[in-house]
Protein backbone atom coordinates (compact mmCIF):
# COMPACT_ATOMS: atom_id res chain seq x y z
CA UNK A 1 0.00 0.00 0.00
CA UNK A 2 1.97 2.95 -1.29
CA UNK A 3 1.51 6.47 -2.64
CA UNK A 4 4.61 8.64 -2.44
CA UNK A 5 2.60 11.52 -1.04
CA UNK A 6 1.50 11.60 2.58
CA UNK A 7 -2.01 12.09 3.86
CA UNK A 8 -3.77 10.45 0.91
CA UNK A 9 -5.19 7.56 2.95
CA UNK A 10 -2.55 4.82 2.89
CA UNK A 11 -3.02 3.66 6.47
CA UNK A 12 -6.82 3.85 6.24
CA UNK A 13 -6.63 1.86 3.01
CA UNK A 14 -4.16 -0.68 4.43
CA UNK A 15 -6.43 -1.25 7.44
CA UNK A 16 -9.53 -1.46 5.24
CA UNK A 17 -7.91 -3.81 2.71
CA UNK A 18 -6.53 -6.06 5.43
CA UNK A 19 -9.86 -6.24 7.23
CA UNK A 20 -11.68 -6.77 3.91
CA UNK A 21 -9.42 -9.68 2.91
CA UNK A 22 -9.73 -11.18 6.39
CA UNK A 23 -13.54 -10.84 6.33
CA UNK A 24 -13.50 -12.86 3.11
CA UNK A 25 -11.75 -15.62 5.02
CA UNK A 26 -8.15 -15.03 3.95
CA UNK A 27 -5.49 -15.13 6.63
CA UNK A 28 -4.12 -11.60 6.48
CA UNK A 29 -1.43 -9.68 8.31
CA UNK A 30 -0.76 -5.98 7.94
CA UNK A 31 2.70 -4.54 8.73
CA UNK A 32 3.31 -0.91 9.66
CA UNK A 33 6.51 0.27 7.90
CA UNK A 34 6.33 3.85 9.17
CA UNK A 35 9.08 3.51 11.79
CA UNK A 36 8.97 6.28 14.38
CA UNK A 37 5.46 7.33 13.37
CA UNK A 38 3.42 4.32 14.41
CA UNK A 39 -0.26 4.76 13.55
CA UNK A 40 -1.69 1.60 12.04
CA UNK A 41 -2.32 0.18 15.55
CA UNK A 42 -4.39 3.26 16.40
CA UNK A 43 -6.47 3.10 13.23
CA UNK A 44 -7.01 -0.65 13.81
CA UNK A 45 -7.94 -0.10 17.46
CA UNK A 46 -5.20 -2.23 19.05
CA UNK A 47 -2.86 0.53 20.29
CA UNK A 48 -3.06 -0.68 23.90
CA UNK A 49 -2.01 -4.20 23.01
CA UNK A 50 1.38 -3.34 21.50
CA UNK A 51 4.18 -5.01 23.45
CA UNK A 52 6.83 -5.91 20.90
CA UNK A 53 7.15 -4.54 17.40
CA UNK A 54 8.47 -5.19 13.88
CA UNK A 55 11.93 -3.81 14.73
CA UNK A 56 12.19 -6.03 17.84
CA UNK A 57 11.51 -9.04 15.61
CA UNK A 58 14.07 -7.93 12.99
CA UNK A 59 16.69 -7.45 15.72
CA UNK A 60 15.87 -10.82 17.30
CA UNK A 61 14.68 -9.22 20.56
CA UNK A 62 11.27 -10.85 20.22
CA UNK A 63 9.71 -13.75 18.39
CA UNK A 64 7.24 -13.01 15.60
CA UNK A 65 4.37 -14.50 17.60
CA UNK A 66 5.11 -12.19 20.51
CA UNK A 67 4.88 -9.12 18.30
CA UNK A 68 1.85 -10.11 16.21
CA UNK A 69 -1.46 -8.74 17.50
CA UNK A 70 -4.44 -10.91 16.62
CA UNK A 71 -7.55 -8.86 15.88
CA UNK A 72 -10.33 -9.50 18.41
CA UNK A 73 -13.12 -8.92 15.90
CA UNK A 74 -11.86 -10.85 12.86
CA UNK A 75 -9.95 -14.03 13.72
CA UNK A 76 -8.14 -14.23 10.37
CA UNK A 77 -6.60 -10.77 10.84
CA UNK A 78 -3.30 -9.84 12.52
CA UNK A 79 -1.27 -6.64 12.90
CA UNK A 80 2.48 -6.24 13.14
CA UNK A 81 3.01 -2.79 14.65
CA UNK A 82 6.13 -0.74 14.09
CA UNK A 83 8.44 0.89 16.59
CA UNK A 84 7.57 4.33 17.88
CA UNK A 85 11.05 5.07 19.21
CA UNK A 86 13.58 3.85 16.65
CA UNK A 87 14.42 5.54 13.39
CA UNK A 88 13.94 4.16 9.91
CA UNK A 89 17.56 2.94 9.70
CA UNK A 90 16.53 0.10 12.01
CA UNK A 91 14.94 -1.53 8.96
CA UNK A 92 17.25 -3.69 6.89
CA UNK A 93 16.51 -5.42 3.61
CA UNK A 94 17.59 -8.80 4.98
CA UNK A 95 15.63 -8.35 8.21
CA UNK A 96 12.45 -7.36 6.40
CA UNK A 97 12.92 -10.28 3.98
CA UNK A 98 13.30 -12.74 6.86
CA UNK A 99 10.15 -11.52 8.63
CA UNK A 100 8.15 -11.63 5.38
CA UNK A 101 9.35 -15.18 4.68
CA UNK A 102 8.27 -16.24 8.17
CA UNK A 103 4.87 -14.57 7.77
CA UNK A 104 4.34 -16.37 4.44
CA UNK A 105 4.19 -19.63 6.37
CA UNK A 106 1.04 -18.59 8.23
CA UNK A 107 -0.67 -15.97 6.10
CA UNK A 108 -2.29 -15.78 2.66
CA UNK A 109 -1.79 -12.02 2.35
CA UNK A 110 0.88 -9.74 3.81
CA UNK A 111 0.00 -6.07 3.49
CA UNK A 112 2.87 -3.61 3.85
CA UNK A 113 1.65 -0.18 4.90
CA UNK A 114 4.28 2.15 3.44
CA UNK A 115 5.34 5.46 4.94
CA UNK A 116 5.16 8.56 2.73
CA UNK A 117 8.18 9.62 0.70
CA UNK A 118 10.68 7.54 -1.27
CA UNK A 119 13.23 6.88 1.45
CA UNK A 120 14.29 3.71 3.21
CA UNK A 121 10.97 2.80 4.86
CA UNK A 122 9.00 3.32 1.67
CA UNK A 123 11.58 1.51 -0.48
CA UNK A 124 11.60 -1.50 1.86
CA UNK A 125 7.81 -1.58 2.09
CA UNK A 126 7.61 -2.06 -1.68
CA UNK A 127 10.81 -4.06 -2.21
CA UNK A 128 9.35 -7.54 -1.70
CA UNK A 129 5.94 -6.73 -3.22
CA UNK A 130 4.14 -8.99 -5.68
CA UNK A 131 1.25 -6.56 -5.98
CA UNK A 132 1.10 -2.84 -5.28
CA UNK A 133 -1.94 -0.78 -4.46
CA UNK A 134 -1.17 2.83 -5.29
CA UNK A 135 -3.39 5.13 -3.25
CA UNK A 136 -4.03 8.36 -5.13
CA UNK A 137 -6.24 11.39 -4.55
CA UNK A 138 -7.67 13.24 -7.56
CA UNK A 139 -5.31 16.14 -6.99
CA UNK A 140 -2.20 17.21 -8.94
CA UNK A 141 0.50 16.60 -6.32
CA UNK A 142 -0.85 13.18 -5.39
CA UNK A 143 -1.06 12.07 -9.04
CA UNK A 144 2.49 13.27 -9.68
CA UNK A 145 3.85 11.42 -6.64
CA UNK A 146 1.96 8.28 -7.62
CA UNK A 147 3.62 8.41 -11.03
CA UNK A 148 6.97 8.72 -9.30
CA UNK A 149 6.31 5.75 -7.01
CA UNK A 150 5.16 3.66 -10.00
CA UNK A 151 8.57 4.44 -11.53
CA UNK A 152 10.25 3.25 -8.32
CA UNK A 153 8.20 0.02 -8.33
CA UNK A 154 9.28 -0.62 -11.91
CA UNK A 155 12.96 -0.07 -11.23
CA UNK A 156 13.79 -0.70 -7.57
CA UNK A 157 11.54 -3.52 -6.38
CA UNK A 158 12.99 -7.00 -6.00
CA UNK A 159 10.96 -8.15 -8.99
CA UNK A 160 12.54 -5.39 -11.10
CA UNK A 161 16.06 -5.96 -9.77
CA UNK A 162 15.93 -9.71 -10.32
CA UNK A 163 14.29 -9.47 -13.74
CA UNK A 164 11.14 -11.30 -12.65
CA UNK A 165 7.59 -10.50 -13.82
CA UNK A 166 6.84 -6.90 -12.81
CA UNK A 167 4.91 -5.98 -9.65
CA UNK A 168 1.20 -5.94 -10.47
CA UNK A 169 -0.08 -2.40 -9.99
CA UNK A 170 -3.56 -1.38 -8.84
CA UNK A 171 -4.85 2.16 -8.64
CA UNK A 172 -7.01 3.00 -5.64
CA UNK A 173 -8.53 6.45 -6.12
CA UNK A 174 -9.43 7.77 -2.68
CA UNK A 175 -11.26 10.87 -1.43
CA UNK A 176 -13.19 11.10 -4.66
CA UNK A 177 -15.92 13.72 -4.65
CA UNK A 178 -18.30 13.08 -7.53
CA UNK A 179 -20.07 16.41 -7.03
CA UNK A 180 -16.87 18.40 -7.37
CA UNK A 181 -15.95 16.31 -10.41
CA UNK A 182 -19.34 17.14 -11.96
CA UNK A 183 -18.62 20.82 -11.38
CA UNK A 184 -15.23 20.53 -13.08
CA UNK A 185 -13.35 21.26 -9.87
CA UNK A 186 -11.71 17.87 -9.49
CA UNK A 187 -9.92 15.47 -11.83
CA UNK A 188 -12.20 12.74 -13.16
CA UNK A 189 -11.50 9.02 -12.73
CA UNK A 190 -10.84 8.87 -16.47
CA UNK A 191 -8.32 11.74 -16.25
CA UNK A 192 -6.30 10.00 -13.54
CA UNK A 193 -6.44 6.70 -15.46
CA UNK A 194 -5.30 8.42 -18.68
CA UNK A 195 -2.34 9.92 -16.87
CA UNK A 196 -1.19 7.01 -14.69
CA UNK A 197 -2.21 4.22 -17.08
CA UNK A 198 -2.56 1.44 -14.49
CA UNK A 199 -5.67 -0.68 -13.79
CA UNK A 200 -8.28 0.74 -11.41
CA UNK A 201 -9.06 -1.42 -8.39
CA UNK A 202 -11.44 0.96 -6.65
CA UNK A 203 -12.85 4.44 -6.18
CA UNK A 204 -13.33 5.45 -2.56
CA UNK A 205 -15.74 8.36 -2.16
CA UNK A 206 -14.93 11.18 0.22
CA UNK A 207 -16.88 10.09 3.26
CA UNK A 208 -17.55 11.15 6.81
CA UNK A 209 -17.46 7.55 7.96
CA UNK A 210 -13.67 7.31 7.40
CA UNK A 211 -12.94 9.79 10.18
CA UNK A 212 -15.62 8.24 12.34
CA UNK A 213 -14.14 4.77 12.00
CA UNK A 214 -10.60 5.94 12.79
CA UNK A 215 -11.97 7.77 15.84
CA UNK A 216 -13.21 4.48 17.24
CA UNK A 217 -10.41 2.30 15.89
CA UNK A 218 -12.51 0.16 13.61
CA UNK A 219 -11.55 -0.49 9.98
CA UNK A 220 -14.13 1.26 7.80
CA UNK A 221 -15.13 -1.98 6.01
CA UNK A 222 -16.71 -3.17 9.27
CA UNK A 223 -19.21 -0.31 9.15
CA UNK A 224 -21.88 -1.74 6.86
CA UNK A 225 -23.65 1.63 6.60
CA UNK A 226 -20.55 3.35 5.21
CA UNK A 227 -20.29 3.95 1.45
CA UNK A 228 -16.49 4.15 1.82
CA UNK A 229 -16.58 0.76 3.55
CA UNK A 230 -18.66 -0.67 0.70
CA UNK A 231 -16.27 0.82 -1.83
CA UNK A 232 -13.29 -0.76 -0.05
CA UNK A 233 -15.03 -4.14 0.02
CA UNK A 234 -15.71 -3.81 -3.73
CA UNK A 235 -12.02 -2.96 -4.26
CA UNK A 236 -10.93 -6.02 -2.26
CA UNK A 237 -13.27 -8.16 -4.38
CA UNK A 238 -11.76 -6.82 -7.60
CA UNK A 239 -8.27 -7.32 -6.20
CA UNK A 240 -9.20 -10.98 -5.70
CA UNK A 241 -10.34 -11.19 -9.31
CA UNK A 242 -14.09 -10.75 -8.92
CA UNK A 243 -15.92 -8.69 -11.55
CA UNK A 244 -17.61 -5.82 -9.72
CA UNK A 245 -18.90 -2.70 -11.40
CA UNK A 246 -17.52 0.63 -10.14
CA UNK A 247 -20.01 2.58 -8.07
CA UNK A 248 -19.78 5.88 -6.22
CA UNK A 249 -18.25 7.90 -9.02
CA UNK A 250 -21.48 9.60 -10.08
CA UNK A 251 -22.98 12.44 -8.08
CA UNK A 252 -25.92 11.50 -5.90
CA UNK A 253 -29.21 12.63 -7.34
CA UNK A 254 -30.71 15.42 -5.32
CA UNK A 255 -34.10 17.05 -5.42
CA UNK A 256 -34.38 20.83 -5.91
CA UNK A 257 -34.94 21.44 -2.20
CA UNK A 258 -31.96 19.32 -1.22
CA UNK A 259 -29.86 21.05 -3.85
CA UNK A 260 -30.75 24.45 -2.44
CA UNK A 261 -29.84 23.32 1.05
CA UNK A 262 -26.62 21.77 -0.16
CA UNK A 263 -25.49 24.81 -2.16
CA UNK A 264 -26.04 27.10 0.77
CA UNK A 265 -24.44 24.80 3.30
Amino acid sequence: MTSGKGGVGKTTSAAAFAAGLALKGHKTVVIDFDVGLRNLDLVMGCERRVVYDFINVINGDARLNQALIRDKRIDTLAILPTSQTRDKDALTREGVGRVIDDLKEDFDFIICDSPAGIERGALLALYYADEAVIVTNPEVSSVRDSDRIIGVLQSRSRRAEEGMDPVREHLLLARYDADRVARGEMLKVEDVLDILAIPLVGIIPESQSVLKSSNVGMPVVMDSSSVAGQAYLDAVGRFLGETIEHRYFKPERRGLFQRLLWRTA
Partner: protein, 97 residues
Protein backbone atom coordinates in the same frame (compact mmCIF):
# COMPACT_ATOMS: atom_id res chain seq x y z
CA UNK B 1 -26.70 36.21 -0.14
CA UNK B 2 -26.89 32.47 -0.49
CA UNK B 3 -29.68 32.69 -2.99
CA UNK B 4 -27.67 35.18 -5.01
CA UNK B 5 -24.80 32.74 -4.98
CA UNK B 6 -27.12 30.02 -6.23
CA UNK B 7 -28.00 32.01 -9.35
CA UNK B 8 -24.56 33.37 -10.02
CA UNK B 9 -22.81 31.84 -13.04
CA UNK B 10 -20.29 29.17 -12.04
CA UNK B 11 -16.55 29.68 -12.32
CA UNK B 12 -14.71 28.06 -15.23
CA UNK B 13 -13.82 24.43 -14.45
CA UNK B 14 -10.21 24.05 -13.27
CA UNK B 15 -9.88 20.27 -13.62
CA UNK B 16 -9.00 20.35 -17.38
CA UNK B 17 -6.07 22.64 -16.59
CA UNK B 18 -4.93 20.25 -13.85
CA UNK B 19 -4.94 17.39 -16.35
CA UNK B 20 -3.10 19.38 -18.98
CA UNK B 21 -0.40 20.53 -16.55
CA UNK B 22 0.08 17.01 -15.22
CA UNK B 23 0.30 15.50 -18.70
CA UNK B 24 3.02 17.94 -19.75
CA UNK B 25 4.97 17.61 -16.50
CA UNK B 26 4.85 13.82 -16.33
CA UNK B 27 5.90 13.38 -19.96
CA UNK B 28 8.99 15.38 -19.07
CA UNK B 29 9.64 13.61 -15.76
CA UNK B 30 9.22 10.12 -17.23
CA UNK B 31 11.72 10.89 -19.98
CA UNK B 32 14.22 12.16 -17.41
CA UNK B 33 13.68 9.04 -15.28
CA UNK B 34 14.51 6.61 -18.07
CA UNK B 35 17.85 8.32 -18.72
CA UNK B 36 21.09 7.04 -17.24
CA UNK B 37 22.30 8.96 -14.20
CA UNK B 38 25.57 9.98 -15.85
CA UNK B 39 23.87 12.01 -18.58
CA UNK B 40 24.07 15.47 -16.97
CA UNK B 41 27.78 14.90 -16.16
CA UNK B 42 28.48 13.67 -19.69
CA UNK B 43 26.81 16.76 -21.08
CA UNK B 44 28.88 19.08 -18.88
CA UNK B 45 32.15 17.39 -19.79
CA UNK B 46 31.39 17.52 -23.52
CA UNK B 47 30.68 21.21 -23.11
CA UNK B 48 34.05 21.68 -21.37
CA UNK B 49 35.97 19.83 -24.11
CA UNK B 50 34.36 21.81 -26.90
CA UNK B 51 34.87 24.98 -24.89
CA UNK B 52 38.64 24.51 -25.30
CA UNK B 53 38.28 25.16 -29.04
CA UNK B 54 35.25 27.36 -29.50
CA UNK B 55 33.12 29.37 -27.18
CA UNK B 56 29.80 27.58 -26.75
CA UNK B 57 26.72 28.71 -24.85
CA UNK B 58 25.17 26.22 -22.47
CA UNK B 59 21.94 26.02 -24.47
CA UNK B 60 23.67 25.10 -27.73
CA UNK B 61 24.23 21.50 -26.79
CA UNK B 62 21.44 18.96 -26.70
CA UNK B 63 21.97 15.46 -25.39
CA UNK B 64 19.11 13.13 -26.20
CA UNK B 65 18.94 9.60 -24.86
CA UNK B 66 16.48 7.04 -26.16
CA UNK B 67 16.14 3.45 -25.11
CA UNK B 68 13.96 0.86 -26.83
CA UNK B 69 14.18 -2.77 -25.87
CA UNK B 70 17.78 -3.87 -26.09
CA UNK B 71 19.01 -0.84 -28.05
CA UNK B 72 19.87 2.51 -26.56
CA UNK B 73 20.66 5.55 -28.68
CA UNK B 74 22.56 8.64 -27.63
CA UNK B 75 22.10 11.70 -29.82
CA UNK B 76 24.33 14.76 -29.55
CA UNK B 77 23.22 17.94 -31.22
CA UNK B 78 25.83 20.67 -30.93
CA UNK B 79 25.21 24.00 -32.54
CA UNK B 80 28.53 25.74 -33.28
CA UNK B 81 28.66 29.51 -33.76
CA UNK B 82 29.25 30.44 -37.44
CA UNK B 83 32.77 31.39 -38.58
CA UNK B 84 32.45 35.17 -38.49
CA UNK B 85 30.89 35.19 -35.03
CA UNK B 86 33.54 32.82 -33.87
CA UNK B 87 36.34 35.04 -35.17
CA UNK B 88 34.76 38.02 -33.48
CA UNK B 89 34.52 36.23 -30.22
CA UNK B 90 38.11 35.07 -30.55
CA UNK B 91 39.22 38.64 -31.12
CA UNK B 92 37.16 39.82 -28.22
CA UNK B 93 38.38 37.09 -25.93
CA UNK B 94 41.89 36.14 -26.94
CA UNK B 95 42.48 34.58 -23.56
CA UNK B 96 40.10 31.69 -24.25
CA UNK B 97 42.19 28.60 -24.62
Amino acid sequence: MSLLRFFRPRAAPSAPLAKERLTVLLTHERAARSQPEYLPRLRREILEVIGKYVHLDDDKIHVHYESQGTVAKLELDIELPNQSQQRQSQVAQPAVS
